[in-house]
Amino acid sequence: MNKCWLLLKIQLLGILGINAIRHGGKKEKQRVLAIGFSVLILVIFGVVLSTALSIGLAALGMADIVPSLMLMVCTIVTLLLTFLISNNVLFAFRDYDMVMSLPVNNSTVIISRLLTVYITNFLFGLVFIAPSMIVFAVTIKASVSVLAMMIATLFLAPLLPMIAAMFLGAIITAVSARFRYRNALNILLSIAFFIALIGISGSINSVNMEPEQLLTEIGNILESTISNAYPPADLLHSALTNGDWGSFGLFALISIIPFALFVALLSKLYIKINSALFTSRSRSNYRMGTLKASTPFKALYIKELRRLFSSSMYFLNSSIGMILLIVAVIAVLFINLETIETSMGIPGIMTLFRSTAPLLACFFISISSTTSASMSMEGKSRWIPLTMPVKTMTIFNAKIAANLTVDIPAILISGIILAVSLKTNLPETFFLFVTPIIFACFIAVLGLIFNLKFPKYDWITEQQAVKQSLSVTVTFGVGILVVLIPFGVAMVSGAYAVLTLVITTLLILFVTCALYGRLNKTRLYL
C-alpha cells in the first residue's frame, strides 16, 4: 500500500501542479493558479446546476429520485470521459520503463494509475452528487443510517462506470496492439464503441409518450427509466428511500467486485499488452525510391494530420465533437419535427429552431479544437519547427488547416442533413454552412492562441497535454460561452432570432480576423 501511495504521489505531483507551485518560476505558478481558477469556476457551475436541479425536482415532489438520477448522470459522464482517456492511463505511458523496473507488483502499478482516474472521477461526482444528496437529506429528513450510506455512495459511485470504461479501453488496446496500423484501428474501434455508448445512453432517455402526458408523469417515468436502465441506481434508490442496508450492500459489492476483478485480470496481461504496444513492427526492408517534393506549408500540414491520427487520445478528445455532431443531426432526422410545434403548443418554435440550428453545430465545434493542444503535442520535439526556415505563421496556418480538415467535412454533412430535416429556406440554409465554418475558424485560431499562452510541453502522458491542459479547458469554456450567449438572446428575442444569428456570425468573423492578426505578430521560442 505504501508503494502504491508513493507511485500515486509522483503522479499527483505532476497532475495537480504541486511541484510547479512549490518549486516553479513565476510563470509556472501563474499557469497553475490559472488552471485552479478555471477548475473553481467549473466546480461552482456544477454545484449551482446540481443544486438547482435537485431543488427543482424536490419542489415537484420528486426528491426521492434525486440521488439515483444524479448517480445515473454521473455514471454516463464518467463512462464517456474515462473511455476517452482509458488506454493512455494504463498503457504505453512515457515513464513505463522506469515504473516497471521498480520493485513493485503489476497490480500495485495498475491500482496507482487507476487511482489517479478515480480521484478525478470522485471529485467530479462530489461536485454533482453531493449537492443532490444534501437536498435529498434535508427534504426527507434523512436518518444517520441513510446519511452514512450517502457518504459511502460518494466513494463508490465512480467505481463501476470507471472500470467499465477502462475495460472497454483495455480490450481495444489489446486488440489493436496486434496490428501494424494499431493507431488507426484503435481510433476506429474507439469511435465505434463511443457511438454505441451514446446510442445506449440516448435510448435510455427516449420515452415514447405525448408531451402533455410526459409533464404529468415525469416522476414515474424517470423512476422506471432509471430502474430499468441502470440497476445499481435502482438499488441505491431503494437503499436511501427505505434505509435498506441490504440493497446498499449489493450496490457496494456491484461497485467494488468489478474493480478487484479488473485489477486481477489485467495484472496477468499487463506486461504482455505493454510489450506488444512498445514493440514497433519494423520491417527493415526499405529501398530508396523517388521522393516527392512539396511546399513547406504542405509538409507541415501533412505532419499535423499524421500527428493527429497517430494518437487515439489526441484524435478522440479533440475531434469527438464532430462525431457527436454527425450523430446528433442523424438523430434529428428521425424526429417528427412537425408534430412538436402542435403538441407543445408553442407557435413559431420551429422557425426559432431553424434559425438557431447553426448554433447547434457551433456547440459541437467548440469541443473540437485540435489547435488548443497542437503546440503542446510538439512536446520535446518542438525544437524541430523552431529551427526550420519558415515563417512562424506558416507553422500556425498548418495547424489551423489541420483543425479545419477535421471540422469542415462534418459541418458540410451536418448542414446538408439539417437543411433536409428542417426544410430550411435559402437564407437559413446559407447560415447552416457559413456560421459553423466561420466559428470553426474562430475556434481553431482561439485554440492556438490559448495553447501558445498556456502550453504544456513537459507532458509524460498525452492525456496531460490533451485533457489536463489549461488551453483546452479555456478554449472549450470561451467557445461554449460564444455559442450560449447568442442562443439565449435568440430564445428571448424570438422574432429577432435571425438578426441575432447574422450579427453573431459577423461578430465572430471580425473577432477571428483580429485574433489571426494578433497571431501574425507572435514569435516562437523554446
Binding site: 514497433s280 530508396m288 521522393l291 504542405k298 509538409a299 499524421r306 520535439s381 526556415p389 515563417k391
Partner: protein, 241 residues
C-alpha cells in the same frame, strides 16, 4: 557570402530567477572552421547554442549568421543552419524517410538532390533499410544518425551540434568526423559543444572555453593549449577562474 559565417557579439541571456546563463559572449566562426565549444555541465553552452540557432530569446547582444541578424531575419539565418540538440527528440509518429522528406521540403531541397544525399548518408550509416520504419522503433543511436542525415540533407553553411558524439558508436563517430571535415572543405563551418576533449583537440582548428556563462579562452586550438593538452588547460581554467 561572407567569410564570417557566425558572429556572436556581446551575447547575454538571463533566466527568470536572475541566473546569468550567458554573460557578454563574443566569438566569430569563419568558413572552414571546426569550432569546439567546451565547458562543464551548466556552463552555458546549450543556452548559447540555442540562442544562436534562433530558438531561444536573449536580452542583449547580436548574432549574425552569414551576415543576417537572427532576430531581424530569422528565416534567412535558419535556411543556412542545421542544428542538432544534445538529445534529438524526433517525430516518433513519422517514418525515417517521412522525416527526411519533411526536412527536405522545409529547406526547399529538390527531389533529385535529397534522394542522392539521403542515399549517400543513409548507406554510409547503414540506416537505409530502416528508413521505412517508424522513428519510435529506432534506438537512440539510430535516432541520432537520422537527425544527422537530416542536417546534411540541405547542405548547411553552418552546422551547429550540441554534444554530437554522445550515443554514437565508434564507426558512426568516425563517419561523422569525416563528414564534418568534408563540409568545411566545401566552405561551410561547424560549431559544436563537447565534453570529449580529445575529440576537440584532434578535430577542431578553433576552440572556446566557457565557464559560468563567460568566455574564458578562445582562439586557434594550438594557441589555446600551447604546449599542454586541452584537458590540462580546461582543468586549470575551471579551477582558477
Amino acid at each position: 557570402m561572407t567569410a564570417n559565417i557566425l558572429e556572436i557579439k556581446n551575447l547575454s541571456k538571463t533566466y527568470s530567477r536572475g541566473k546569468k546563463a550567458v554573460d557578454n559572449l563574443s566569438l566569430t566562426v569563419q568558413a572552414g572552421d571546426i569550432y569546439g565549444f567546451i565547458g562543464h555541465n551548466g556552463a552555458g553552452k546549450t543556452t548559447a547554442i540555442r540562442s544562436l540557432v534562433g530558438v531561444l530569446e536573449f536580452e542583449s547582444g547580436k548574432i549574425l549568421i552569414d551576415g543576417n541578424s537572427i532576430e531581424e531575419n530569422p528565416v534567412a539565418c535558419k535556411s543556412v543552419i542545421a542544428y542538432i540538440p544534445d538529445n534529438p527528440d524526433l517525430y516518433d509518429f513519422l517514418t525515417g524517410i517521412q522525416y527526411l522528406n519533411y526536412v527536405g521540403d522545409m529547406f526547399g531541397v529538390s527531389s533529385a538532390e535529397r534522394e542522392a544525399r539521403i542515399k549517400k548518408y543513409a548507406d554510409l550509416w547503414e540506416l537505409t533499410a530502416n528508413l521505412g520504419d517508424l522513428i519510435s522503433s529506432y534506438s537512440h543511436g539510430m535516432k541520432q544518425k537520422l537527425a544527422l542525415i537530416s542536417a546534411f540533407v540541405h547542405r548547411p553553411r553552418l552546422l551547429v551540434l550540441d554534444e554530437p558524439f554522445v550515443g554514437l558508436d565508434p564507426q558512426a563517430a568516425f563517419h561523422l568526423k569525416n563528414m564534418m571535415r568534408e563540409l568545411c572543405k566545401e566552405g561551410g563551418a561547424i560549431f559544436f559543444s563537447t565534453h570529449v576533449l580529445e575529440v576537440a583537440e584532434k578535430l577542431c582548428n578553433k576552440v572556446a572555453i566557457i565557464k559560468g556563462g563567460k568566455l574564458i579562452a578562445s582562439g586557434k586550438t594550438e594557441e589555446v593549449r600551447g604546449n599542454r593538452s586541452l584537458e590540462d588547460i580546461f582543468m586549470e581554467v575551471v579551477k582558477h577562474e
